[in-house]
C-alpha cells in the first residue's frame, strides 16, 4: 500500500476520487443547510424494499425525523469536509459508508422498485452502491497522510516527539 501511495500514478487518481466525492457530499450538505424547509420526510416515506418499514417509521415520528434531518445534514457536512481536507479521514469515510449504506437500503435498486425516478437502469448495483464501494476504497487508500491535514498534524506530532526525544 505504501509503495502504491508513494507512486503518483496511483495517488493522483485516488486523490481526485476523494476530492470529487468530498465535493458531492459537501455541496449536498450545504444545500440542505441553507434550505430551512428541507426535510428527509418525502425521501423516507417513498422508501421501498425490505427495510422500508424502518424508514417509514423514522418519517412517522416528528422527533426522530428532526434527528434524522440533523444527522443527515451534519453527517454529509462532516464527510464532505473530511474528504476535501483529509481531516479526521477515517471517521469521515466510515460515516460516509454508513450514510451511503442507509441510502442504499432505503431505495434498493430491486426490479420492483418504482419510487425514485432514475436516470438509468439498475439491478442491485446503482450509483449509491458504486459510491459506497468507492468510499471503501478511499478508506483503505489513505491519501490523507500525504495530501491532507491528518498527515500534516501527524508530521507535526512526529516533530514534537523527535524534539522532546
Amino acid at each position: 500500500m505504501k509503495n502504491m501511495l508513494s507512486d503518483r500514478s496511483y495517488a493522483a487518481p485516488m486523490l481526485a476520487l476523494r476530492l470529487a466525492i468530498g465535493w458531492r457530499f459537501l455541496f449536498e450538505a450545504l444545500v440542505k443547510l441553507y434550505n430551512p424547509g428541507w426535510s428527509a420526510k418525502g425521501y423516507l416515506l417513498s422508501s421501498e424494499g425490505w427495510f422500508s418499514f424502518f424508514f417509514h417509521w423514522l418519517a412517522g415520528n416528528e422527533t426522530l425525523l428532526r434527528a434524522v434531518d440533523f444527522l443527515n445534514t451534519f453527517g454529509l457536512l462532516f464527510v464532505g469536509l473530511g474528504l476535501l481536507l483529509g481531516l479526521f479521514y477515517k471517521a469521515a469515510t466510515i460515516t460516509g459508508l454508513v450514510l451511503l449504506s442507509l441510502y442504499y437500503l432505503a431505495h434498493p435498486p430491486i426490479l420492483s422498485n418504482s419510487g425514485i425516478p432514475a436516470e438509468g437502469n439498475y439491478f442491485l448495483v446503482d450509483n449509491v452502491l458504486i459510491l459506497t464501494v468507492a468510499m471503501w476504497a478511499l478508506l483503505k487508500f489513505r491519501t490523507n497522510l500525504t495530501y491532507g491535514l491528518d498527515g500534516y498534524i501527524l508530521s507535526k506530532k512526529g516533530e514534537r516527539i523527535s524534539q522532546t526525544a
Binding site: 459537501l26 455541496f27 474528504l83 491532507g148 498527515g151 500534516y152
Partner: protein, 524 residues
C-alpha cells in the same frame, strides 16, 4: 524555497490541497440557495395562494343523534363505517389486514376516528343478510337498532332523528321527500334524484322545511379542493376556458358488476319494495345487486360518477347548471346486457361564465366542462382546469403549471423565474404513502374522494361530510352540499342522460329555470 529547506510548509500545502475547493463549493451552495429562495418567494408572492385549513366543525356534544340507515349495500356500509360503526366480522378482518401489512392503515384510521355521538337506532334494508349485518354494526352496549320493513315506517318513527339514504338512485327522491315531510334530517347519496321531475319536487319540499339536508359529495371536505378555491379566487389560472374531468376504470367491480350474494332469493329480498316506482318485473338477482346497469334504477355514468366530478368543480368554480349539454357514448367494453353506456362523453357549455381574465376586457368569456369516461381503461387522465395563465391538475393533490403563453406571467417566464415544465405550485396534504387496496378504491383516492387530511392525519372524507351534516343538525348552519348544490348536480346530470338518450343538445333556460327544448315524453 526548496523542500529540504522547509519540509513542514510543503507538507501543509499538500495537506490543504482540497481547501480551495471548499470555497467554490460553499459559494456555489449559497448562490443556489439564494436563487432558489428568491424564485420561490417571487412565485409565491405573485400567486399569493393560501393553503387553507378549514375551520373546525362545531361540537358534537349533547344527546346522541338517532340515525336510521336506509340501504346497507356497498355505500351504506361505508357510510356507517364513516359514522363509526362496523360489523364485528369486518372489524376483525380490518385488524388482521393491518397486522399482515403495516402500510394498511384502515384499521388505525377507523379506531382513531372521532366519536360523532350518534346511535344507529333503525335499519331499513331489503336483503335480510345485509340487514343483519347493519344491526350487528349498529349494536352497542346500550343500543340495538330496530329493523324497519319499509322506509315509510322508519321515517314516521319517533325513535329516529335523521336518515342516511344509500339506496339505488330511483328510491332517493321518494325516500328523501317522505323523510323531509316527516321532519327527519336527510343525508342522501348521489345522484340526488332519478329524474328531472322529482328534482323539482324534492327541492320544493326541502326549501319549505327546517330540516338539514346534505348530498353525499364528500370531496367538498377534501383539503386540496379547499385550496383550489383560493387559487380560483386569486385568479391564478386566468380565464379558464376548459375543464377536463374523467373516469378511468377497467375492472368488473368498477363497471358495477358486483358480487351476487349466494343467499339472495325472493325469500330473503323484498323485491316489491326494491322496484318501488320502477316498472314491475319478476324477481331478478342481477337487477337487485347490479342495479347501476339499468336505467330503471340507476342514472348511469352521469348520475353515478359524472356527478362527483361536476360537484367537485362546482364547489370550486360555482358555475351552476350549464346552458347546453351534449352527450354521446355506447356500451363498448361490458356487453353483458346492461342498458347504460360504459364509454360516455359529456360536454357542458357555459357561454357566459368566466373565472376572470388577465387580458383586455371582453376578450375572454365562456367555458366548457368536459367529462370523458371509460370503464375499459384505467389510465389516470386526471382532472384539469385549463386557464389562459395556468393549468391546475386536481385530485387528492394539486399542482399548478404556468402557461408559456400566459399574459399574467409573461415577465416571470421571460426572466426564467417560471417555466412550464416545473409546477409553480404543488400541494400534497398527505406527504405520505397510503395503502389503497383495490383499483376502484385507487380511482376514488386519486380524485380525493376517499380520504383527506386534517393536521397531517388521514381522515375518511365521508366521515367529515357526515360530521358537517350532524354539526348543522345540532348547532344550526348550512352544510356544504345542500339542496341548492344538489339541485344543480342532479339537473346537470339528468341533462347529460337526456342528451344521450335523445341524441339532442339539451338546453337549460336560467330565467325559466327549466329545460326548454325537450318534450314531456323525452324528459322521461
Amino acid at each position: 524555497m526548496s523542500e529540504i529547506e522547509n519540509p513542514g510548509r510543503r507538507s501543509l500545502l499538500k495537506g490543504l490541497i482540497g481547501a480551495p475547493f471548499i470555497g467554490a463549493i460553499w459559494g456555489g451552495a449559497i448562490f443556489k440557495s439564494r436563487r432558489d429562495q428568491s424564485i420561490r418567494e417571487e412565485i409565491l408572492k405573485e400567486l399569493n395562494i393560501e393553503v387553507e385549513t378549514p375551520a373546525p366543525l362545531g361540537p358534537v356534544s349533547g344527546d346522541p343523534i338517532r340515525i336510521g340507515i336506509i340501504g346497507y349495500g356497498i355505500r351504506g356500509k361505508q357510510l356507517a363505517q364513516a359514522l363509526g360503526f362496523l360489523p364485528q366480522a369486518d372489524l376483525k378482518a380490518l385488524k388482521e389486514a393491518a397486522l399482515a401489512n403495516k402500510n394498511d392503515r384502515r384499521y388505525q384510521d377507523f379506531i382513531s376516528q372521532e366519536n360523532l355521538n350518534v346511535r344507529i337506532t333503525g335499519v331499513c334494508e331489503l336483503f335480510d343478510v345485509r340487514a343483519e349485518e347493519a344491526i350487528d354494526a349498529g349494536t352497542t352496549d346500550n343500543n340495538k337498532p330496530k329493523r324497519y320493513r319499509t322506509y315509510q315506517e322508519m321515517v314516521e318513527s319517533k325513535d329516529i332523528d335523521a336518515v342516511i339514504i344509500a339506496t339505488p338512485d330511483h328510491l332517493h327522491a321518494p325516500m328523501s321527500i317522505a323523510a323531509v315531510k316527516a321532519g327527519k334530517h336527510v343525508y342522501v347519496e348521489k345522484c340526488m334524484t332519478h329524474n328531472v321531475a322529482e328534482t323539482y319536487e324534492l327541492y320544493d319540499v326541502v326549501k319549505n322545511s327546517n330540516i338539514v339536508f346534505q348530498v353525499g359529495h364528500q370531496h367538498r371536505q377534501t383539503q386540496s379542493y379547499i385550496t383550489a378555491k383560493d387559487i380560483i379566487r386569486k385568479k391564478v389560472l386566468g380565464h379558464v376556458s376548459l375543464v377536463q374531468t374523467t373516469t378511468n376504470r377497467n375492472t368488473d367491480n368498477g363497471a358495477w358488476q358486483y358480487h351476487i350474494h349466494e343467499k339472495a332469493s325472493p325469500e330473503t329480498i323484498d323485491w316489491e319494495q326494491f322496484l318501488g316506482p320502477a316498472p314491475k318485473i319478476p324477481f331478478n338477482k342481477e337487477h337487485f345487486f347490479r342495479w347501476r346497469k339499468w336505467w330503471a334504477y340507476g342514472t348511469g355514468l352521469s348520475g353515478d360518477l359524472l356527478t362527483h366530478d361536476f360537484d367537485s368543480i362546482n364547489c370550486i368554480l360555482n358555475m351552476g347548471i350549464p346552458k347546453y349539454v351534449t352527450a354521446s357514448g355506447g356500451i363498448y367494453t361490458h356487453r353483458d346486457g346492461r342498458e347504460v353506456p360504459d364509454v360516455f362523453q359529456v360536454t357542458m357549455e357555459y357561454p357566459d361564465f368566466s373565472t376572470g381574465s388577465s387580458q383586455e376586457p371582453g376578450k375572454e368569456k365562456g367555458m366548457t366542462f368536459l367529462y370523458s369516461a371509460t370503464l375499459g381503461n384505467q389510465y389516470n387522465r386526471g382532472t384539469l382546469l385549463m386557464g389562459h395563465d395556468a393549468t391546475m391538475s386536481l385530485g387528492a393533490t394539486l399542482e399548478v403549471h404556468a402557461d408559456r403563453a400566459s399574459t399574467r406571467y409573461r415577465d416571470l417566464m421571460r426572466q426564467g423565474i417560471m417555466d412550464d415544465d416545473t409546477p409553480v405550485f404543488s400541494y400534497n396534504p398527505a406527504q405520505g404513502v397510503d395503502a389503497v387496496t383495490s383499483a376502484t378504491a385507487k380511482y376514488f383516492a386519486q380524485k380525493g374522494l376517499l380520504y383527506t387530511y386534517r393536521d397531517g392525519k388521514r381522515v375518511d372524507s365521508a366521515h367529515l361530510h357526515l360530521k358537517e351534516w350532524l354539526v348543522c343538525i345540532r348547532n344550526g348552519g348550512k352544510p356544504s352540499c345542500g339542496i341548492e348544490e344538489g339541485f344543480e348536480e342532479a339537473i346537470s346530470a339528468h341533462m347529460a342522460t337526456l342528451s344521450y338518450k335523445t341524441g339532442k343538445r339539451v338546453e337549460w333556460d336560467h330565467s325559466q329555470r327549466k329545460i326548454v327544448n325537450l318534450s314531456e315524453e323525452e324528459m322521461i
